[in-house]
């Protein structure tokens, strides 16, 4: 792939009271690429996402998205610069309908006064319908989102990110708790939405990783252990050692 690099992370370190959760990590993700990060528990996968979206502040190192240094911005600015993040447990507004969930995520009227005067225009409705179709929830637009199935909640959260049209989409265990058929659909969904942007996925289900990953990064104790396509990573003796042996 000769696409240009969208996200470049260099020498990223974060230390919690001396414990280095992420240690001098460098990572490059291209545009249109779907990258999967795997690793054992405590490898620092979620922390890397936290660092990118500003939830955790880096101790040192740089995170650069399309030429903008992200580490110095607050969370909401990072989102506005084009980073979307899905949390591990579905994080949606259970008291609101699917439509309202998507509407709140629509990237307009984000200030206090902007939100007071925000109107559901034709354009907004159109976009909501479009996204709802992508995430298989067209029939549920007026359903209170707390009543959706676990898998549908996961899709809704992905949709809430899609409506912002982010440059970088980060998904933390998107298929956790999904049925087999839901997994199939999600794999198709991910393959579709990585067009025109970069996607980072954290996942444990190796079958699923095989289906979606363009490239796999293996983290271990906050450091990069291996990187490459699924096959080369699976046959990498260091990876086998970490996953199987002691």
């Amino acid at each position: 792939m000769s696409e240009k690099i969208a996200l470049s992370i260099e020498d990223l370190t974060v230390s919690f009271d001396g414990f280095k959760a992420v240690d001098k990590l460098s990572l490059y993700v291209e545009k249109n690429e779907l990258r999967v990060i795997i690793g054992t528990n405590g490898a620092g996968k979620t922390t890397v996402l936290d660092l990118i979206c500003g939830k955790t502040r880096a101790t040192s190192g740089t995170i650069n998205l399309n030429g903008t240094e992200l580490t110095r911005y607050p969370e909401h600015k990072i989102v506005q610069l084009g980073v979307g993040r899905k949390f591990q447990t579905p994080s949606i507004y259970e008291n609101l309908t699917v439509l309202e969930n998507l509407e709140i995520s629509y990237p307009e009227g984000r200030g206090v006064f902007g939100s007071l005067t925000f109107k559901r225009t034709e354009q907004v409705t159109q976009r909501i319908l479009e996204v709802a179709e992508t995430i298989f929830l067209t029939e549920f637009l007026n359903t209170q989102s707390g009543l959706l199935s676990h898998g549908q909640k996961q899709w809704l959260e992905i949709g809430m990110l899609l409506i912002q049209d982010p440059e970088l989409l980060m998904l933390d265990e998107p298929v956790a708790g999904m049925s087999v058929s839901e997994r199939e659909k999600t794999a198709d969904l991910l393959n579709k939405i990585c067009q025109g942007r970069s996607v980072i996925v954290i996942e444990h289900d190796m079958e699923f990783v095989k289906r979606i990953a363009h490239k796999v990064t293996v983290l271990h104790q906050g450091k990069l252990l291996a990187e490459g396509n699924m096959e080369s990573v699976q046959n990498n003796p260091k990876v086998i050692e970490v996953y199987l042996g002691h």
């Binding site: 909401h76 949390f87 507004y93 709140i104 206090v112 007071l116």
Partner: protein, 380 residues
């Protein structure tokens, strides 16, 4: 324009609730009560502003403020300062050491009107200050807290501390504020005597109209995207933040809004009751305001008004006969709200009465639609 009005009234369901409340406040109360009792209801309704503000701040914003009395006090004191200056003209204060200044200043050996009192000669400035002072103070408090992500219980404790500090300050600065007695002996507003019965009637109606105005503005805010954002914030704050919103700004907005609403009530309190004192702005009244909102239902603007009226009526009725039992009774009510009906009276209505009311309404409709003439018309 019509759509905006519709939103302000709270759509059809809200409009019915507002209409019922309007009939009670503007028709039944004035007809059934003498002016002394009506004036009392007017006083209760000024507390209802604080309770309505708390519905916005606590119910929808999820921020429990135990210092709403502070803002009530800012509004009340601003109004009282204006009225006091008008009551302290040279003729009626001729016997003082320094004529032309409020009497309590004279008692405290103050010989010149303090700087911060000067602009309160102007009514226009006073109205401006009633809004601007609580807005500024609440902005400073909330920005300092929410930008640093202080919230929950910590914020509540800080607001309570502010209520305590302010009371001590007001009591301590006797020459400036009238101390523990407050600002009393208020007479006229721009030459209009506010102590006559006719003035009290008029003030009661102005107060009621303002309360309805405030509720309608609240409805507008709640029906906008901001209202849905507030619900979303209470549910999943991080999701809102990571959807590109500066969460602190929304909390600051709703806290300031609650403060200003409370201050309007305070100003109307001074006008109707005729004085302002620290006993109305401290910790106890602030917590009472929370109880009004809790009993009425913290998610219901109209419910907060009923809650205020009922609790205060109970307070007056009880403390006339058993003064010492009242506090215990109020405590019991609060425990009842927390344990038995967490959504207050509005919640009870929703779960027990609403369906029956709907049934009755639909029956009335059926009777109307079975009007033979109409059926014939529809067929032909």
């Amino acid at each position: 324009m019509n759509a905006l009005l519709n939103r302000a009234l709270g759509e059809r369901r809200g409009a019915i609730g507002l209409a019922v409340l309007a009939v009670i406040i503007f028709l039944i109360m004035p007809l059934a009560l003498d002016i002394f009792r009506l004036n009392l209801v007017g006083k209760y309704l000024t507390y209802a502003f604080a309770a309505v503000g708390l519905v916005m701040v606590w119910g929808y914003g999820g921020i429990l403020s135990l210092g709403q009395g502070v803002f009530f006090g800012f509004g009340g004191y601003c109004m009282a300062m204006f009225l006091k200056l008008e009551a302290s003209d040279l003729a009626s204060t001729a016997h003082q050491t320094t004529p032309g200044i409020p009497d309590f200043m004279d008692w405290n050996q103050v010989t010149q009107l303090p700087m911060i009192w000067q602009p309160f000669h102007s009514f226009a400035f006073t109205v401006f200050a009633i809004i601007a002072v609580p807005l500024l103070i609440s902005y400073i408090i909330s920005a300092a807290m929410f930008k640093r992500r202080v919230g929950g219980v910590y914020f509540s404790i800080i607001t309570q501390a502010i209520a305590a500090i302010l009371t001590i300050l007001v009591v301590g600065q006797q020459g400036l504020t009238g101390g523990i007695n407050g600002i009393t002996d208020l007479k006229t507003l721009n030459g209009w005597n506010i102590n006559t019965d006719s003035a009290k009637y008029l003030l009661y109606f102005i107060n009621g109209a303002l309360l309805f105005g405030v509720i309608m503005v609240c409805n507008l805010v709640l029906s906008s995207k901001l209202g849905r954002l507030l619900l979303a914030l209470r549910d999943k704050e991080d999701r809102v933040r990571f959807s590109g919103y500066d969460v602190a700004n929304f909390k600051i907005f709703i806290f300031c809004m609650g403060a200003v609403i409370s201050a309007i009530g305070g100003a109307m309190f001074t006008l109707q009751v005729g004085f302002m004192s620290p006993s109305i702005i401290g910790i106890v009244p602030s917590i009472e305001m929370v109880i009004f909102a809790a009993i009425g239902g913290r998610m219901s603007l109209v419910g907060a008004v009923y809650g205020t009226l009922i609790v205060n009526y109970g307070k007056t009725a009880f403390s006339e006969s058993f003064p010492s039992l009242w506090l215990l009774f109020m405590g019991a009510m609060f425990i009842g709200v927390v344990m038995v009906f967490p959504n207050g009276l509005a919640g009870l209505y929703q779960s027990y009465l609403k369906d029956r009311v709907a049934l009755v309404l639909s029956r009335i409709k059926k009777v109307k639609s079975s009007d033979p003439l109409k059926v014939v018309k529809a067929e032909s």
